[in-house]
């Protein structure tokens, strides 16, 4: 806590010394052997450790793969993704209010103290992943944020249940959607403000949706949504609106830009189409596909022959929980069980680890796949859609044995 405050204090108030620090050149670049990450600088933003720079205005920062050897992603390493610029860089809690209005009986203006004390705090550990995570790996390539695999993180969130806040405001008959707006607002009035929506019927039946003001035991970093953000467990993070300031209940379906035409997937069972083609119909993106990664050893590493190496990573899905994680070192012909880490709930990253003793020298590839609670897994062939969403192909690391 004190570290966080002193850093904020320093970054907000320090003079020449602070500026000099901020102007120091990037220390290194990320992922030399990775065609998507090669040449991207590691940068240090306020309240953040060294992350991979995707864009700076608005900021988009990617978490290095080394952090995915554990279930909880540290706040300082948690990825950052904004849509419009400028973004909020100063929030005064004496002035900040969360306004709940629209098609309700009693519009509310909640202070942070209200949010914390008038509603029972609820806690959930949930993975947050950008819809376009790994977009840079699509083939054929697609336009958009060219993420590697680090636009994801997992944290313990504490906050008020959205359902209880909406009940306090009193939904009027005929309420259809709930919209969420944050403090980020585009410089140009013609640029659509980032506003997302969920269906009333769904959120009133979904107690795990939180207005979170705490992340891994701390207030949220500004770049992860201080002072509060929506947490929609199991769903892609486009719905997890940051720096939340306004919740509006509508009596008509909400279909503004960031719901339609943005953030939509083909209306097919796989959310995919034949590579290079356009879908006939689309629907809003929602639940996350099952995924798993190998964080350690990193691709390109050398491991000794004969001696067992420890492989480790995480797996997660859209809210049914990870049942099994398997690895293969023969191109996916045979698969071997791994040991799962502690179960932190069905929305959380699940750690996995395995001992792997390579029998021969030379280059070898290890693959990982996960199975969730309703039998969904990952394919050896990547799915494709024109916006570059939902990527969940079996991941691999290339290792040099000997």
């Amino acid at each position: 806590m004190s570290d966080r405050l002193s850093r904020r204090d320093f970054l907000a108030g320090a003079g020449a010394a602070g500026v000099a620090l901020l102007l120091s050149p990037p220390r290194a670049s990320a992922g030399a052997g990775d065609p998507i990450l090669a040449g991207r600088p590691l940068v240090r933003y306020p309240e953040k450790t060294d992350l991979i720079l995707l864009t700076s205005r608005p900021p988009q920062l990617e978490t290095p793969m080394k952090y995915f050897d554990r279930a909880i992603t540290p706040n300082e390493a948690f990825f950052v993704r904004y849509h419009v610029f400028p973004i909020p860089t100063r929030v005064d809690l004496d002035e900040w209010r969360l306004r709940i209005g629209g098609h309700v009986d009693r519009p509310l203006e909640l202070s942070m103290a209200d949010l914390r004390t008038k509603f029972s705090p609820a806690s959930i550990t949930a993975a947050c992943q950008c819809a376009g995570n790994s977009r840079g790996r699509f083939s054929p390539r697609v336009l958009g944020g060219q993420w590697g695999d680090g636009a994801m993180g997992n944290a313990e969130w504490v906050g008020a249940r959205l359902r209880e806040v909406l009940q306090a405001a009193g939904l009027r008959p005929g309420a259809v959607d709930v919209t969420f707006n944050g403090l980020d607002a585009p410089a140009f009035p013609t640029v659509p403000d980032f506003v997302k929506s969920l269906a009333v019927a769904q959120v009133m039946d979904w107690p795990e949706v939180l207005i979170a003001y705490q992340m891994n035991g701390q207030p949220l970093p500004m770049l992860n949504g201080f002072p509060a953000r929506l947490v929609v467990p199991g769903w892609y993070s486009t719905y997890w609106v940051k720096n939340l300031s306004e919740i509006t209940v509508t009596d008509q379906p909400f279909e503004k830009f960031w719901m339609k035409p943005a953030y939509r997937i083909p209306d097919t069972p796989c959310g995919c189409v034949e590579p290079g083609t356009a879908p006939a119909r689309t629907v809003p993106i929602s639940r996350m596909r099952t995924r798993s990664v190998i964080a350690s050893p990193e691709s390109g590493s050398r491991v000794p022959v004969g001696a067992p190496a420890t492989l480790a990573g995480i797996a997660f899905d859209g809210g049914y929980g990870i049942q099994a994680v398997e690895i293969s070192d023969d191109g996916g012909q045979t698969w071997h069980a791994t040991t799962l880490g502690r179960d932190l709930g069905r929305y959380s990253f699940r750690e996995w680890s395995a001992r792997w003793a390579p029998a021969r020298r030379g280059p070898q590839t290890v693959m990982v796949r996960a199975l969730n609670g309703i039998g969904e897994s990952q394919g050896l062939v990547p799915l494709w859609n024109p916006a570059g969403y939902l990527r969940n192909v079996v991941e691999r690391v290339d290792l040099e044995v000997g």
């Binding site: 904020r8 907000a12 306020p46 995707l54 864009t55 013609t190």
Partner: protein
Amino acid sequence: MTRTLVFRLVALLASGPVAAEAGAVAITLPPDQGALKAGPGMEVAQKACQMCHSVDYITMQPRGGEAQWRGVVNKMIKVFGAPIGDEDARVIVEYLSREYGAGR
């Protein structure tokens, strides 16, 4: 302002763990260090694009031909309302297709 902020942060710190219920917090973003490749039209492109976003939005994209970049520039104008005139749009598309074109 700085003094007020520090005072508030100290007060907040004294109030106990994770009790972020009052006071202000602020951050300063590091400078934008992105740059476009030099070439005819670069300044027009930089000025137009940076009205809304840093140029790393451009440099990270897959390389593509004139059709790709015309599509992107048209989207910025028609969907996001970027105030870019026809002549500037032509210059920008030409610049992007040349410097960030297929095979570059």
